[in-house]
Subunit: 393 residues, 2 copies
Amino acid sequence: MNNKLTLGIFGFGVVGQGLHDIIKTKNLNLAIKRFVIKHPEKKRTLPAELFTTDANAVLDDPEINTIVELIDDADAAFDIVSRALQSGKNVVSANKKMIATHLAELIALQHEHGTSLLYEGAVCGSIPIIRNLEEYYDNELLHAVTGIFNGSSNYILSKIFNENLPYATALRQAQDLGFAETDPTLDVGGFDPKFKLAIVASHAYGLYVSPEAILNIGIDKLSASDIQFAREKNFKIKLIPTAREINDTSVVLYVMPKLVSPENILYNVENEYNGVLVKAAFADEQFFYGKGAGGHPTGSAVLSDIAALRYGYRYEYKKHIDANGIAYSTDWELEVYLRYEDENLIERLGFTSISERYYAENYKYIIGKIKLDNILKNRAVIDQKGLFIAEIA
Amino acid sequence: MNNKLTLGIFGFGVVGQGLHDIIKTKNLNLAIKRFVIKHPEKKRTLPAELFTTDANAVLDDPEINTIVELIDDADAAFDIVSRALQSGKNVVSANKKMIATHLAELIALQHEHGTSLLYEGAVCGSIPIIRNLEEYYDNELLHAVTGIFNGSSNYILSKIFNENLPYATALRQAQDLGFAETDPTLDVGGFDPKFKLAIVASHAYGLYVSPEAILNIGIDKLSASDIQFAREKNFKIKLIPTAREINDTSVVLYVMPKLVSPENILYNVENEYNGVLVKAAFADEQFFYGKGAGGHPTGSAVLSDIAALRYGYRYEYKKHIDANGIAYSTDWELEVYLRYEDENLIERLGFTSISERYYAENYKYIIGKIKLDNILKNRAVIDQKGLFIAEIA
């Protein structure tokens, strides 16, 4: 079974172009019929008849059996993808926000209409983590899945720790190189890795958790004092999403900066690279590393999905079916470093134990244990100027 | 389609036991009917009726539809596996030597009899590299696949470089811990990683190359001088199998010690861990890391294969079908470090260029470029006491 695919592609940005570059070098039994774009006035490198601004021209074209959705706008993307799935077309998407936010609905649509939605490119670019969770770790008990899921913030942190740049300079450099958006909040605020974590959790643990229910703390409040603290202890700071089975029935999910020691394999994941660390009961520690973004790396993941659709491949969400009462939990204690200004805050946050305190005129920190629940409840307080929190391994 | 599997397992060593441990914790729609063992007098942890010494009792049992082959003896293993494939049973094997040596025959048998042979556990234990090459990089142009494929020699090299142990002591420690055999030649001589390399080459490039045609140089001639040389230059020595596309129609394959710098991701792969580094045209650099051996890590790979057989999974060797005239070549120039004693040898080896020479009473070395052809031709000379050769990146 190798079905000929006729593709309609939404978006002709860096991934869409990368994909076109890849497809034209191959004899893959697939053809791109039409790109849907938003700005017809832009100069394109391909013939004009390949482009349209009319989504319906593609969604209603019976010859097009496969939709590739590569646009930024998550709401518009959801509209496109759900219409496509309903009309019997299979879909490949790389839109992490859209998928994480609508996961349960998208799975229901696939079941109802017998269509398939694949999205390897949405999670860690080129790294085939979803496929491996689906196909290879489907019978494995996974203790934890962590890693570096966001290339922009990792690039910034690498510049800070390896080249002594201050945060603002590193951010600007990342923006100049196209690794970070003009509004970098999605990345440095930890939202982007949170969307990816929510998607990973569905394949690793069968959990469909709304991103809104998951804690994300970013690196945007990182100060020179925090950097010096980490350096003196021989740590690097990395932005780490964590999915961890804390007992037979509970999984915690959160995104937080973490003080990472040189023994940790994530310590050496630098710049725009991503890494996924899977701790499994039988396979033990498994690590996947590759480029987290960019037209060709993400394009290669999208192409692998397209190629798999030729053979009728679909995700089975087996862990969800076998979930055996596993539920999302926030009842978990973390050890953290917290830089703060206002002494009253410490009581409010309710540290369960404190192992270190430091006071100086311009720099105060505390190291201690705190419940994830409490961090979530006080998210708005923690996420303000003057504070920085990071997990200690 | 989820077929009930009834298993006959050859071998009840560390992997067979690991597999049994895993299966009993799961509800996988599969059952182990019988283990075939060689030594009935050994005390077993399971009921006696689960064991037999009679291979035919399993191979001729029509109820058993799946054979799991986990024995050491490559000739006996080939006999078992080919009989099973001929009689309509699917097979999972972890026997790298047997598979590498008989690959073309085994593929022909599968085609002829419509059966499936899977062997993820044969290559780098827990790391799902074969599955990813088959399923995920099937449309990728792969520039190179390299890595650390042998846990025993890597354990020895880690002890040497991280704990300053001499080679002999490190080897003994590896043997005491069960990481190396009493006769360690297969591992430290580079044969085991060569078998794995030959298997990888079939999935990465569609090449079926007899292991005998592939150069393997091991680490068993490593001396204190070589170690000191590497240390002074801030290198570690690792045993590295390489598959590399040198042009549109040629792929080189060889196993050789390599001087690895800290920037190389393989530098940090230590002890019994394995790592596979894939350089792909579009996905760029991809790295897979995990335990290379042991009952549970290898057992988990074997189990993934068994689970995939329930869904009728088989390798397609797509790269072989699409090979487009790609052939194995040895026409390639390497830069090497060579410690030697006999001055005459240098001429015989035919260095094409020399960039460094060093002479002292007890230690002479040369750094230069040499053809892979020439190394292969002079394999017996190079592989003797007093010489050590390593590739320089």
